[in-house]
Symmetry: C2
Subunit: 193 residues, 2 copies
DNA sequence: TTATATACGGAGGGTCCCTCCGTTTGGCAA
DNA sequence: TTGCCAAACGGAGGGACCCTCCGTATATAA
C-alpha cells in the first residue's frame, strides 16, 4: 500500500539482458547463413542458451525476426550520425552507402520472412523506412552544405539509387558489383554541375 | 535383345494412376482449406493412401504443388473449348470468365507456395500464361466473329481486366464482387461501339 | 493360372516446435 | 556480508512433420 504501484520494479537482471543480446546476434548470423527458415533451436544453440530461454525472450518466431530487423535498421540509421562525427560529410555519405549494402544483405534475408507472415509486416517496414529517410537526408544535406557534392541532389534519389542497385541481387559477386557502382555513383555526385 | 529397348514397357497399373489422381485432388483441397503449408501427411490422409505412396508419386513438395497448379491451368484452358462446344461464343466467354475466378482462387493459394521456392517458378508460370492467352484469344475471336461482342476488343485487354479484378482479393465477399464486375464487363463488351 | 514387376502402406529415425517445471542466480534489504 | 526470493535458466518431453526403407499385396503379361 505504501509503495507506488507503478511498474518500476527492480533493475532487470544482467544475465537476462546479455542472453537477449546473444540471441539476437545468433539469430542474425543464422538468418545470414541458413536463411529465414533457420530453426529456433539452432539459434538457441548458436547463442549458447537453452531453448526455454529463447522462448521466454521471444515468444514467437516473428518476435525474434522483428528484433533482428529493428536492430539492423537502428544501427544503419545510427551509422549516419556516427560517420558524420568522424569523417567529412562527403566521405561519410560514401561510407554510409557501403553500410547500406550490409543492411540490404540482412534485409534481403529478413524481408522474405516478414513477407511470409500474414499482415503485420507493413508497420515495421514503414517505421524503418522513415528512419532510413531521415538518415540519408541528413547525410546529403550536410554533404551539400559542405560543398562535397553537387547541390541539386535529392536525398530520395540517392535512396532510390541504392535500392535500385540491390535489385537482381542474390547472384554471387553481386555485392562486389554493387560496391563498384556505389563508387561510380559517388563520382557522379561529386561532379559539380 | 529381341525386344525393342525403348521404354514402352507394360501398361501403368490402374491403382497407381488412381492414387496419383486422388493425391492431386487431395492436395488441391488441402491447399484451398489449410493453405500452402498443409502437411504432406495430411494430403496423404485426405487421399486415403499411405505416406509412402505420396512420396513415390511426388518425391518433393514442389512436385505435388506443380501437379496441382498445372492441372488447374490445363482445366481452365480446356474449359474454353468445352464451353465453345455447348454455348454461343458470347455466353462461352462469359462463363469462362467465371471459371477464371475459380482458377484465381486456386492460383492465389498455389502462387505463394511457388514464390517461396527458389527459382523454378518462372518456367511454370510462363507455360501457363501461354495456355491462358491462347484460350482467351480463341474465345474473344469467336465471339467477335459471331457478332456477340464489339469487334475492337483485344483479347489481352480482357485478360488484363480479369487479372486486375483479382487484385485486392482475399477479403471476404471478394468473389461475389468480382462476379458482379464480370457481368458488368460483359455488358460493356456486348455494347456495340 | 502363375510369375513378377509395380505399387502399396506405415513403422521408424531424425528434426523441429513449444510447454512446463525443477534448479540456479542476480539484485536488494537487513 | 549475508540471506531471501523474484527472475531467469535449461532441457526433458509430447506432439507434429519430414522422408526412407522394406515387407506385403496386386495388376498385368505370359
Amino acid at each position: 500500500m505504501s509503495v507506488e504501484s507503478g511498474e518500476a520494479g527492480r533493475k532487470p537482471r544482467a544475465d537476462g539482458l546479455r542472453n537477449r543480446e546473444r540471441l539476437v546476434e545468433a539469430a542474425k548470423a543464422g538468418f545470414a547463413e541458413t536463411g529465414p527458415e533457420v530453426s529456433l533451436e539452432e539459434i538457441a544453440r548458436r547463442a549458447g542458451v537453452g531453448i526455454g530461454t529463447l522462448y521466454r525472450h521471444f515468444p514467437t518466431r516473428d518476435a525474434i525476426v522483428e528484433a533482428v530487423y529493428r536492430r539492423e535498421v537502428q544501427q544503419l540509421a545510427d551509422g549516419a550520425t556516427r560517420l558524420l562525427g568522424s569523417l567529412s560529410p562527403g566521405r561519410a555519405l560514401h561510407e554510409w552507402m557501403r553500410l547500406f549494402l550490409d543492411y540490404i544483405a540482412t534485409k534481403k534475408l529478413v524481408g522474405p520472412a516478414l513477407a511470409a507472415m500474414v499482415g503485420g509486416t507493413s508497420e515495421l517496414y514503414a517505421a524503418s523506412g522513415a528512419r532510413i529517410t531521415e538518415a540519408v537526408t541528413l547525410l546529403v544535406e550536410r554533404a551539400v552544405a559542405n560543398g562535397d557534392i553537387r547541390p541539386d541532389v535529392d536525398p530520395m534519389d540517392v535512396l532510390r539509387a541504392l535500392v535500385g542497385l540491390t535489385y537482381g541481387n542474390s547472384d554471387p559477386g553481386w555485392e562486389a558489383s554493387a560496391r563498384r557502382l556505389i563508387d561510380i555513383l559517388m563520382d557522379g555526385l561529386r561532379a559539380q554541375a
